[in-house]
């Protein structure tokens, strides 16, 4: 098993996997994909922002910090993007 540091946030990777299959259809669905052959998790917020981490707890914290850290000026009542765009973390 590779050490988390090898693929850690120090060398941010683009969330370049194909968009994961969407299973849940709700208005505010968070999605976490495990990047193949790495220890990296990619989190997709329903607001359209993506972020990577090797620690699931830290990743959840980042996702749930919405909208303070990554949702820009949005408020909780913001309507999610219909087609979230995947961007660099």
């Amino acid at each position: 098993m590779s050490s988390p540091n090898q693929a850690g946030p120090a060398a941010p990777m683009r969330a370049d996997l194909p968009a994961p299959t969407k299973m849940l259809k709700g208005r505010t669905v968070y999605r976490v994909v495990w990047k193949l052959n790495t220890d990296v998790l990619v989190g997709y917020c329903w607001c359209g922002t993506a972020h990577e981490d090797t620690d699931p707890i830290a990743l959840w914290e980042w996702l749930l910090a919405h909208p303070d850290t990554h949702g820009g000026g949005r408020t909780d009542s913001a309507v999610p993007d219909p087609e979230p765009e995947l961007v660099d973390a």
Binding site: P20, T21, K22, M23, L24, G26, R27, T28, V29, Y30, R31, V32, V33, W34, K35, L36, D39, L41, T54, D55, P56, I57, L59, W60, L64
Partner: protein, 355 residues
């Protein structure tokens, strides 16, 4: 404050468990007695006689009424006392609380919390449990462990490789990455693991007759707090679902769990395995029933042990979480949120009724 969310539906029993007699069961700390009226309606009352607290579940049912086995106080299906020994006058306050129950998909659901808030539309569905297109085996194991340990266990199927090796576990389960989704509004966690080329565990080779490698899909849908669905798809390696039309080259097994807190340290583990193949094959039915019971008991032993460990540990013990725990962490978060919401609504209701 209880560790489970209130103002929620929980599985109390299988429909078939409630027949002619009285069934006593503690759900979320409430000792309840269940029975079915002559009309077929399921009734849930507090399992304590108002007189000297004798358990009504150990009493007698007569004409849709419970006659207390100690001194004969008699209760109707609303919980009102309709007869007391040697008395014409029955105190108006003589009644036991009644709970809201619904039957759906062969399960008896009970609403725990403020009875005024019970909303039938919120009961999660598992229609295959009651469908002619599936054959179902089921059982219930009481755990001497808190319900959150069962949630953790079911949300992380990588334990199949280790705890259930030789039954449902093969190396690929622990090795294949997962995708996790969380619907914050609906309180649903979805964890999916699709294995394209996997060993077929005996549980599936013996029941489906597939020999050789398989595509094995596990799609977990947890409807917090009480219903857990594992959609399991098994097909020979390379056989994927068609773009259109029914997925009829694959075998489907719906593994369903009712996760019902009983007390703070006990849980009712309702397990069901439904299949859409070999519907009338008694041998397959028997095999799946026996095998799944064995698997459930492996979990029971592990969780009962964990409960002792958790009870014995110091405050603020730090666990370690890794990637396989993403789904379990999401489930825990939702449960924490639901517990807080349940508290709030109960507190709000109390504030309104306070003088």
């Amino acid at each position: 404050m209880p560790s489970w969310p209130v103002n929620q539906w929980y599985v109390a029993a299988y429909s078939e468990e409630i027949g002619d007699g009285l069934l006593g069961r503690t759900i979320c700390g409430e000792p309840l007695v269940f029975y079915r009226t002559g009309e077929g309606e399921v009734v849930a009352l507090a399992d304590r006689c108002v007189h000297r607290r004798y358990p009504l579940s150990l009493s007698h049912l007569k004409d849709d009424q419970i006659v207390c086995g100690y001194h004969g106080f008699t209760y109707d299906k609303t919980g009102a006392c309709v007869a007391a020994p040697a008395q014409k006058r029955i105190p108006r306050t003589a009644r036991v609380p009644a709970w809201t129950v619904r039957e759906q998909d062969s399960l008896v659901w009970v609403w725990i919390g403020d009875q005024e808030l019970a909303d039938e539309a919120l009961i999660p569905r598992a229609p295959w449990l009651d469908s002619p297109d599936y054959t179902v085996v089921r059982g219930m194991e009481p755990l001497k462990a808190r319900y959150s340990l069962l949630v953790d266990n079911l949300m992380d199927l990588s334990h199949e490789t280790y705890l259930h090796g030789g039954y449902i576990g093969t190396p690929e389960v622990a090795e294949t990455p997962i995708t996790t989704e969380v619907d914050e509004d609906a309180n649903v966690v979805y964890v999916s693991r699709h294995m394209d080329d996997a060993e077929c565990p005996p549980f599936y080779s013996k029941s489906t007759g597939i020999d050789g490698r398989i595509t094995r899909w596990q799609d977990v849908e947890y409807h917090a707090p009480c219903l857990y669905l594992l959609h399991s798809r098994i097909a020979p390696a390379g056989v994927l679902p068609p773009e259109e039309g029914p997925d009829d080259k694959a075998f489907h097994v719906e593994v369903t769990y009712g996760i019902t807190p009983s007390t703070e340290h006990e849980t009712l583990d309702f397990w069901m395995v439904s299949r859409d193949f070999a519907l009338d094959d008694e041998e397959v039915t028997e095999f799946l029933a026996t095998n799944n019971h064995t698997v459930v008991m492996q979990d029971v032993v592990a969780l009962d042990l964990l409960e002792k460990v958790v009870e014995g540990e110091k405050e603020n013990y730090q666990e370690l979480s890794i990637n396989i725990d993403t789904g379990a962490l999401a489930a825990r978060r939702i449960l924490t949120k639901l517990v807080a919401q349940g508290e709030e609504r109960t507190a709000a209701a109390k504030a309104v009724t306070a003088p």
